[in-house]
Amino acid sequence: MNSEDFLRASLERGEACLAAADLEALVAGQGSPQAAEHLPRCAYCRGEVEVLRSFLEGVPTAEESSSVRRIEQNLRTSAAWKGDRRSTGPWAFLGRPRVGMAAAGLAAALAVGVFLNQPRPSAPEADTVDVVRSMDIVGIAPTGDLAEPPSAVRWSAVPGAVRYRVSLEEVDGTSIWRQTASSAELVLPAEARELMTDRKTLRWAVSAEDGESKTLATSTSLPFRFVRGSK
């Protein structure tokens, strides 16, 4: 056995290693006694827990925010994943336009579309026409690490919206606070700010409704974290 094989064999997943549900429970601080007992004895599972945590609780830094937001926008506007509706096989990928090839065009579209908040035509789809998806809400703040709990939430306005529903969520998507607003900003009351404890990652999302309570658009959920003493 050479050294690389040795390392791999010593570190790889074993028969007793934890299932996904056990890993997520450990990330949430709710692991079973069996999982808690296994963890200190297994480098693989210790690694897995932390990697899952980085996925669930990751917060973009100031440097990453712009790129991440553009990737998100691309997912939302191109909706390329829907191109797979007719097929679940690996060949489905072949027909999907690669984003890299259209990078320049996208950048231009984003520069205009994102920052001016203009509704864009939806991507061509095989079997549905979804006008609602042509409108987006771009979350503006808060995002990333913050020196203080944020005092307000801000997003881009949606034409025709008469009401916005804002929610604060745990990283697993559990809603912990909700409020409605009539404009594209909501001042957070003390009860909401008290939920933002030091170094705890939360996410927020907003949806826009018209006068008939029909959802016009929904934002992605944006992570943020109050970190005492951060810049």
């Binding site: 690389e4 570190l11 299932a19 210790r46 690694g47 932390e50 990697v51 996925f55 998507g173």
Partner: protein
Amino acid sequence: MSSLTDEELVAKYLEAGRPAGTRYADELFQRHYGRVALWCFRLAGDREMATDLAQDVFVKAWAHLDHFRMDSRFSTWLYMIARNHCFNALRQKQRSKEDAMDRADIEDFPGTAAGFDRDLEQKELTGVAREIMAAELSPVEAKVMMLHFVEDVPLPAISRTLGLENASGAKAYVVSAKRKLKTALNRLALRSRRPSTGEGSTPDE
């Protein structure tokens, strides 16, 4: 719809089927664009590749949503897809570049060369090594070693994904982990070479 949990959205989607249930899947996936985008960006290190990776993740999630068994949260299920897809893509990229630059150097560990692996069965040696890994490595070292040596994730990508802000990033953790392992294995090798004092007995330390 925004008041529904991820799992409730999946249930609604499964109940309605395609295409009627697509709106539930839309809502569901939109909630996770941000975390998948960030994860892919940190692993890929460039926006173009990250965008492709993120799209691939949602293509796969969409293709397999019918098979989500609710035995974990949806976010964990999505993580598994993202993890496997991104690690495979990075592995292929590494191979195609034949790039050894991001690979940690590996010198012989005591026991893996012609030393005591004659004395210990392969399986036994691996078992001992697993115990040493778990006992000796810090949490950060464990995850860096697992990602690099099991999943073949390049060191710079590990540094970004785990937010390691020290000057040499993940590489420093590999160096310290290897040092610890060497020390532990040396100790074990010395012990295994010590002459026995009687049949089947081992001298106490």
